[in-house]
């Protein structure tokens, strides 16, 4: 896997940075600059995340979903109502729906996978590269490091969902006629309002993934093998969706972090149902609180040997 090689290179580069004390981007990580605040630490973390090849490879994979959907439907023709994933049949009539159809496809597996990689790698990745103890030598504090790592993962959630929706909309714009957006309720809204709703959908899905990010971060503090934390996070997302599909376990459903993932469609109704946005945020908030606390507890009490 090329992304792993890219990791190794990044890790090596950072080690070199730390060793020669004359790096350009990683200066904050040395004791001298560590006091300059969480914001600089966050800025640095984001820079590290979004200069990684792996991050761009994952965003590229997400971008492929709307591109493939757009090209496939352009070549093979549209599907009839009620067949295939939701919104797929609307694409030929209105290209703007490529982004939403791609989102429906990406939510169950692709997005959780990328989140699993990002969040699962957060601490375990540093540990496996042997860079974690250098990070902690700085008086930045373990909790602050966790918070920064989590915020970076959250930023990736937003980047991922925006990639799918924005790129999908652009692809649809290029390949298909566009027009007023048909809502689930059966009436139309102008293109501008429709685009705003699509952005709201991206925000909704990004919020939906915050709980999974917190779980990934916690798992990441448990191990020094990043691939383990990544796999465990992704598997948990799938398991949660399977449990959500079994009617006999209905009592558990409201407690699953995946329970409201597909309710983003509530924003495409007339009038938009914002209740589910709030309920989803509350659910994800509870997961962030519980697994954030667990992660802090684990990380603060852990012996960092690598």
């Amino acid at each position: 896997m090329s992304s792993r090689e890219a990791d190794a290179t990044t890790g090596a580069a950072r080690d070199a940075d730390l060793a020669d004390a004359g790096g350009t981007t990683d200066t904050v990580r040395r004791p001298r600059a560590a006091a300059s605040g969480t914001l600089r630490l966050l800025g640095n973390e984001l820079a590290t995340l979004f200069t990684r090849w792996r991050t761009w490879a994952m965003l590229g994979a997400l971008a492929l979903i709307p591109i493939l959907i757009g090209i496939a439907i352009r070549i093979a023709g549209g599907s009839s109502a009620g067949r295939g994933p939701a919104f797929l049949d609307q694409i030929t009539g209105n290209g703007l729906f490529v982004g939403i159809a791609a989102m429906t496809v990406a939510i169950p597996l692709f997005l959780p996978l990328t989140i699993g990689v990002t969040a699962g790698d957060a601490i375990a990745g540093e540990a496996s590269h042997g860079t974690l103890r250098y990070l902690l030598i700085a008086p930045a504090g373990r909790i602050r490091l966790l918070v920064v790592k989590y915020l970076a993962a959250a930023a990736f959630c937003l980047a991922g969902t925006l990639t799918v929706v924005v790129l999908g909309t652009l692809v649809g714009w290029l390949l298909f006629p566009i027009g007023p957006v048909t809502l689930l309720s059966g009436d139309e809204i102008p293109v501008g309002e429709g685009l705003l709703r699509f952005l709201a959908v991206a925000a909704y899905v990004a919020v939906s993934l915050l709980g999974l990010s917190a779980i990934g971060l916690f798992l990441s503090t448990l191990t020094t093998v990043p691939i383990g934390a990544m796999a465990a996070t992704s598997i948990l997302a799938v398991v949660s969706q399977i449990v959500g599909a079994i009617p006999q376990l209905e009592a558990l459903h409201p407690w699953l972090f995946t329970d409201r993932w597909l309710d983003f469609a509530d924003l495409l109704r007339s009038p938009p149902v914002w209740d589910s946005f709030a309920a989803n945020a509350l659910l994800q908030g509870a997961y962030v609180l519980v697994f954030g606390t667990l992660a802090i507890t684990r990380f603060v009490t852990r012996d960092v040997l690598s």
Binding site: D187, L289, V290, T301
Partner: protein
């Protein structure tokens, strides 16, 4: 919070406290309000007072969210309707099929609406009403405009919008007046009949209600239950319990708003069950007039629009229909008409209805039912259906044993 070298063990133990405390705090935050809402005390009302209070409710406008849950114990019908010759809405020929195929699709919709769990928003403002069924990634809508005498049924999955209108030239107000006139005539008739029967002048509405309650009381125990809370509103609870043990129905419960008398919840429980088998209840309700924009609907160009006129029966047709009904009621047991009429066994809650067997897909029947002595039976928590091998269908809200008994008695009667 950097690691310390002294007192490390103690601080480690202390640090685990939040990991326990946070989930505990969340659980408390969820459970405590549930407990607090239990204490509701409205001024006491008798059953008659409560019924009158509910019937005089004058709520004109409201909006809210309705949750429907049903645990009828029916086998999964979604797969069943799909097996019935592609009547499901997702079939490939959905666009091509004609109007005559619309019936099974409607049945499909009805079954799925009645059985699953659903959330719907409801908006009512005077003669305007809208029901919005929120499905996952889909939506169904019913718009009714009483003044313009039109309505829409919209289904996002099939992308269809059906525009229902009264025939042109019909004046809805005149219709309303006619209906009222009819009601008046019926009321006059009823009044005359009651006066003739009892030899006394017409009783007041309260007396009528008392009488109705008394006759209901023979079969059913009607009580006012404990006050509760539905959708954050304080409600009275009206409980109907069958007096007989021969039925599967345990109780019917209705929640009536303590302030304005609007029904906010209804549920049916099977005998001995803790959870209702079927429940419809508001989870949120507001008695302010909803924004007028929620009633506006203009179908998108993507939707297939069907126009459908509802024929309004003329007076003559109505009279014929009524005469037909009466004739049927008179000759129900003769069974000489072309249309088979049901035979009714027993009364009250233990009523069993018997029908000749319509043509059914045998394979489908076998997958749904289980065999009993000389028949096949379909059991749900509230309703039992028995299909005898000699071609009769018996149904009722009763245990299987009673159906078998009735079926055996019926067979003996006809000398089989």
């Amino acid at each position: 919070m950097s690691p310390r070298t002294d007192g490390r063990l103690r601080s480690r133990a202390l640090l685990w406290i939040p990991a326990v405390a946070v989930p505990a705090a969340i659980a408390a935050a969820v459970i405590v309000p549930m407990q607090a809402s239990a204490a509701v005390d409205l001024p006491d009302k008798t059953v008659a007072e409560l019924l009158e209070f509910a019937s005089t409710s004058d709520v004109e406008a409201f909006s809210g969210t309705i949750e429907q849950t049903s645990e009828l114990g029916i086998p999964d019908l979604a797969g069943l309707t799909g097996a019935m010759g592609g009547a499901g809405s997702g079939s490939a020929d959905a666009g091509a099929r004609g109007d005559d195929a619309a019936q099974p699709a409607d049945l499909d919709d009805l079954i799925s609406l009645a059985t699953g769990s659903h959330t719907a928003n409801v908006y009512v403002d005077g003669s305007l009403a809208r029901l919005q069924v929120l499905d996952q990634l889909a939506e169904r809508n019913v718009y009714v405009d009483g003044e313009a005498a039109e309505g829409w049924f919209v289904d996002s999955e099939t992308k269809t919008a059906t525009h229902v209108v009264l025939p042109e030239g019909t004046d809805p107000e005149q219709l309303g007046a006619e209906a009222e006139a009819h009601a008046d005539v019926s009321a006059e008739e009823a009044r005359a009949r009651i006066e003739a029967e009892t030899g006394a002048p017409l009783p007041t509405p309260e007396e009528l209600l008392d009488r109705a309650l008394a006759s209901l009381d023979e079969t059913t125990e009607v009580t006012v239950g404990t006050d509760a809370r539905v959708a954050g509103r304080e409600v009275y609870e009206l409980v109907l319990e069958p007096r007989t043990d021969d039925t599967l129905v345990g109780s019917l419960r209705f929640a009536v708003d303590g302030e304005n008398g609007m029904p906010l919840a209804a549920s049916i429980s099977a005998r001995g069950a803790d959870e209702p088998a079927f429940r419809v209840a508001f989870s949120e309700v507001s008695f302010e007039a909803p924004d007028t924009s929620v009633f506006e609907f203009a179908p998108s160009a993507d939707f297939t629009v069907t126009e459908r006129e509802i024929p309004i029966p003329t007076e003559q047709e109505l009279a014929e229909w009524r005469a037909g009904l009466e004739a049927k009621a008179g000759g129900a047991h003769s069974g000489e008409q072309g249309v088979p009429s049901p035979i009714v066994h027993g009364d009250g809650w233990a009523t069993v209805v018997e029908l000749p067997l319509p043509s059914v897909d045998a394979e489908m029947l076998d997958s749904l039912t289980r065999a009993v002595d000389g028949a096949r039976v379909l059991e749900t928590s509230l309703l039992t259906v028995l299909i005898t091998d000699d071609g009769r269908v018996l149904a009722g809200a009763v245990p299987v044993e009673r159906l078998v008994e009735v079926a055996a008695a019926g067979a003996a009667d006809t000398g089989r």
